[in-house]
């Protein structure tokens, strides 16, 4: 196809296209327009071409050809043309209808699209909403789970408590049952006893049977029960209670006084501490202290006057406690200030009181460290020396000597003591031997004495002569017998003889002499007979001496007697000493 025709086609089709729209919008098109368009396409010159073109078009559209080339006449088949036109119109109408339909459909679909868009936005919103709801629900679920857990815990606790209460109830129930049983048993016993009493005819009455009344414990007579005694009892009871309260109150007062004193002391101390620090601080915190200082001075003056007065009333007590609180607060703040100052001084390194103290502190520390080091060295050297001592080889002698060197003195002392002990033991042995010998001798002597006595008695009985000289030899033999009999015969005459003795010294009579000798021997035997020790030797010796005084002027015969008796006495002395 030629391009011009195509162009024409295009423009015609475009033109054709637009008009339907227009046609659609406007019901009718003016005829002149149509004719105007037609006229441009086909002119008298290009009829053939137009015809062929239209033929082609129509055939391409599927319609019967309008014009056949066989006919030479340029006249068109009107019928065919009309049919064609009619078909075209139908087609056009159909096309319009389909267009309408399509438009309608398009409208519908656009409406659908809008609707869908709306629904989608709505659904999106719903989705959002539901998501939010979901999270909210999850949150709620979580909280509910927590609650469930806590409730479960509560339940467990409650169950435990219930269990505990059940246990308590069980124990109480068992206790009640036990009591019930006990009471029932007692009740039964009571019933039995009652029955017994009803049956029992013999009624035993209560009675007391006392031999005699005994007095009251405190010795007083018992009083009748009168109002006076009742009042007295009441009074005594209240007295007891009051005295108890009294003592308690006194104790509490003392305690209170003590505590007050302590508080006052504390307050004074705190005030003194703070006042001593005041000049340093006054420069820094003038405003703070200014107002307080005055009040404090006032307080001090006020309180010192009140020190002696005991704080009875509530106001005074409150005042004391408040003032202490105030002082304590001040002290606290002061200490904090000091602390901060100390830390500043450490950091700054400036020379003020705190730094100085720090330096001295450091010096102290260094000194102490040095001391410690010295001590350690000392200990070290000591240890070394000790080791040397222990490990050094020494010869046996010195080793043996050294091994016991600590005990040497003790050992020597022990040896000495052993020696003395041994000596004492030998002495004791000797004395014991002497004693036994003396005892044996004594028994022998006693035997001899008894024999002598017997013989003497015999002699005495048989030979009753007034001549004492003839009696002397037998007397010396039976001296002991005579003495014993003398003592036996007249214990009372012995002191007489003793008394006679001193008188007898001046005028010695033959009769007296044997008596004096006999008294000395008499005492000796007196000592011998009871066999007592300690004082007797002394007495004996005294008397012996006495008699010795008497004897000195006498004949040697008596001296001999005296010697014998002396020997005897010495023997006995020994004997007694050994005892």
């Amino acid at each position: 196809m030629p391009e011009s025709s195509l162009d024409k086609d295009i423009c015609s089709s475009s033109e054709c296209r637009t008009p339907p729209l227009r046609q659609f919008s406007q019901s009718s098109l003016p005829l002149h327009r149509k004719s105007y368009m037609l006229s441009t396409f086909c002119t008298e010159q290009n009829v053939q071409e137009c015809q062929s073109h239209i033929n082609q078009e129509v055939s391409s559209l599927g319609l019967q050809p309008v014009w056949t080339e066989s006919g030479s006449s340029s006249e068109m088949n009107v019928v065919a043309v009309l049919n064609c036109m009619y078909d075209l119109i139908q087609m056009h109408r159909r096309g319009l209808r389909s267009l309408e339909n399509m438009e309608v459909e398009q409208l519908k679909s656009s409406g659908n699209v809008d609707y869908l868009q709306l629904t989608s936005t709505r659904l999106k919103e719903q989705l959002e909403l539901s998501k939010r709801e979901n999270t909210g629900l999850l949150e709620r679920e979580r909280q509910l789970q927590l609650k469930v857990k806590s409730l479960q815990n509560c339940l467990k606790n409650e169950k435990e408590e219930v269990q505990k209460l059940q246990n308590i109830i069980a124990s109480r129930a068992s206790q009640y049952n036990h009591e019930m049983k006990r009471k029932e048993r007692e009740f039964n016993k009571l019933k039995e006893r009652l029955n017994q009493l009803l049956i029992d005819k013999k009624e035993k009455k209560q009675a007391i049977d006392v031999l005699n009344n005994i007095g009251r414990a405190d010795g007083k007579r018992s009083l009748w029960k009168t109002e006076k005694t009742e009042a007295k009892h009441e009074a005594e009871m209240y007295k007891a209670l009051l005295s108890d309260y009294d003592t308690r109150q006194r104790e509490l007062l003392l305690e209170n006084a003590e505590l007050n004193k302590v508080l006052q002391q504390m307050k004074k101390d705190m005030v003194s501490i703070l006042s001593s620090k005041k000049p340093i601080l006054k420069g820094d915190k003038y405003q703070d202290d200014g107002a307080q200082a005055d009040s404090e001075d006032e307080e001090e003056v006020f309180d010192s006057s009140k020190e002696s007065v005991e704080l009875y009333c509530v106001h005074a007590r409150e005042k004391l406690t408040n003032s202490i609180r105030l002082q304590w607060r001040r002290l606290k703040s002061h200490v904090e200030r000091l602390d901060s100052q100390a830390s500043l001084a450490q950091m700054g390194g400036s020379r003020n009181n705190d730094a100085v103290s720090q330096e001295t502190h450091k010096e102290e520390m260094d000194r102490l460290k040095l001391e410690i080091q010295q001590c350690k060295d000392f200990i070290q050297t000591q240890q070394q020396l000790l080791q040397q001592q222990l490990s050094s080889p020494c010869d046996e002698e010195t080793a043996s000597l050294l091994s016991d060197c600590y005990m040497l003195q003790e050992k020597e002392r022990l040896g000495d003591e052993w020696k003395t002990l041994e000596e004492q033991r030998t002495i004791f042995e000797r004395e014991r031997r002497n004693f036994t010998e003396a005892a044996i001798r004594l028994s022998h002597e006693r035997k001899a004495f008894e024999e002598d006595r017997a013989t003497w008695l015999k002699h005495q009985f048989l030979n009753l002569s007034p001549f004492p000289d003839s009696k002397k030899p037998p007397m010396s033999k039976s001296k002991s017998a005579f003495l014993i009999s003398e003592t036996k015969a007249s214990a009372t005459s012995a002191p007489e003889k003793l008394i006679r003795c001193p008188s007898g010294t001046n005028l010695p009579t033959p009769g007296c002499v044997p008596h004096t000798s006999s008294t000395a021997d008499l005492y000796r035997t007196l000592c011998l007979i009871p066999e007592n020790g300690a004082t007797k030797p002394k007495r004996k010796s005294d008397h012996a001496e006495e008699s010795g005084v008497f004897f000195n002027g006498k004949a040697p015969v008596r001296h001999k007697q005296w010697n014998d008796s002396e020997e005897h006495s010495s023997h006995t002395k020994e004997q007694n000493s050994s005892i």
Partner: protein, 385 residues
């Protein structure tokens, strides 16, 4: 320790006189009085029946012998052996018999706790006290012997009567706020009466001498309550031992609890010193110094045994008692203050300790078990532990 020869006795009736000079023992129906220093028999009395109870009077001049089965009480005099006194309660029966503090009156509790008869040995007069209560400790004399407190029960309510021992005059009679009175005890200074409820309720009431209620104390509800109550000798503290194995101490000024002692099965306290008796068959005996508790386990006394110190924590063997039975063997059952109120000895649980007694100087403690005894000396230098 030296022991004398063994003397026969029956019913565990063997008492030393209050003045410490004589020893009285009962053998069946005979009463034997011995001199304490020489243990020679001074007097021999014969009663009419087997003696159930025997007691010295407070002035050590008289001895009462009670024969519960026959309802008889016989009183013997040491000064005059010929003197005799026989009290016959008749058909009413006899439950218990005791001396009054002045040593001249005898209080007989008749059977079924019907009444208490007060017999006077001075005037042969009789007084009756009706409705005494049958409980753990229903009657108590004050330490100076002036007053007697008696628990009574009338119309399902508990009362306390205070009598003047001089002439048995009723001084005060008041109702107590207890459900079921378990016991009462005078304070050593005689001014306060502690009254406690039975074990079903924890309640301790404090009444003053003239009957006013001073204070009430209750540690907890429902569980088994008070087991034992003791005053300190200075009347400053009241120690309450209960079934929950704790001891609570109240002070006399506010009557509030000042401290509480526990008896845990494991001793973890570093301040406590635990002594364990060690012998061939190791059994546990544990002691505590300082203001803590002393618990004693069963031990077989062996002269060769010695005590060693156990380091904490120490596990004390505890036998769990049957909770279904009444009056279970748990809880603090014995309390004893030392004479200077410095130490408190307690016995918890079912240990076989019959009694705890302090020496009057307050430095040593004697523990009596069923078969053995143990003397503990406190180290007084360690008082700050």
């Amino acid at each position: 320790m030296n022991f004398s020869e063994v003397f026969k006795q029956s019913n565990q009736l063997c008492k030393v006189s209050p003045d410490g000079k004589y020893l009285a023992t009962c053998v069946q129906y005979r009463l034997v009085v011995r001199d304490m220093s020489t243990l020679q028999i001074l007097q021999l009395y014969t009663c009419l029946d087997q003696i159930s109870h025997m007691d010295w009077s407070s002035d050590s001049l008289f001895i009462l012998c009670a024969m519960y089965k026959r309802g008889l009480v016989q009183v013997w005099s040491l000064e005059q052996p010929d003197w005799h006194c026989k009290i016959d309660e008749g058909s009413i029966g006899l439950l218990s018999s005791r001396w009054s503090p002045d040593g001249r009156h005898i209080l007989n509790t008749t059977e079924f706790h019907l009444r208490i008869t007060v017999w006077s040995l001075c005037t042969k007069a009789v007084s009756y006290i009706k409705y005494p209560k049958a409980c753990q400790k229903g009657i108590d004399f004050s330490r100076d012997g002036c007053y007697m407190a008696l628990a009574e029960r009338r119309d399902c309510k508990d009362y306390v009567s205070v009598f003047v021992c001089d002439d048995w005059h009723l001084l005060r009679h008041f109702e107590t706020e207890t459900q079921d009175l378990g016991g009462l005890e005078w304070s050593p200074n005689g001014c306060v009466l502690a009254v406690w409820d039975s074990c079903l309720e924890y309640k301790v009431l404090l009444y003053s001498l003239d009957g006013r209620l001073l204070s009430t104390y209750s540690a907890y509800e429902w569980s088994l309550g008070v087991k034992t109550v003791t005053w300190s000798p200075s009347s400053q503290f009241l120690a309450i031992g209960s079934y929950d194995e704790k001891v609570r101490v109240l002070n006399h000024i506010t009557w509030k609890k000042i401290t509480q002692f526990e008896h845990p099965a494991t001793i973890n306290n570093t301040k406590a010193v635990v002594y364990k008796e060690v012998e061939r068959r190791p059994a546990v005996g544990a002691d505590d110094l300082s203001l803590h508790n002393i618990t004693i386990g069963t031990t077989l006394f062996n002269t060769q045994s010695k005590y060693e110190i156990c380091p904490p924590p120490v596990q004390i063997p505890v036998v769990k008692p049957d909770p279904d039975r009444a009056n279970p063997k748990i809880g603090v059952s014995t309390l004893a203050f030392s004479s200077d109120s410095r130490y408190l000895a307690t016995k918890n649980g079912g240990f076989q300790v019959q009694s705890l007694n302090w020496h009057c100087s307050g430095d040593s403690l004697i523990l009596l078990g069923k078969e053995q005894l143990c003397l503990c000396y406190m180290d007084t230098d360690q008082e700050d532990k």
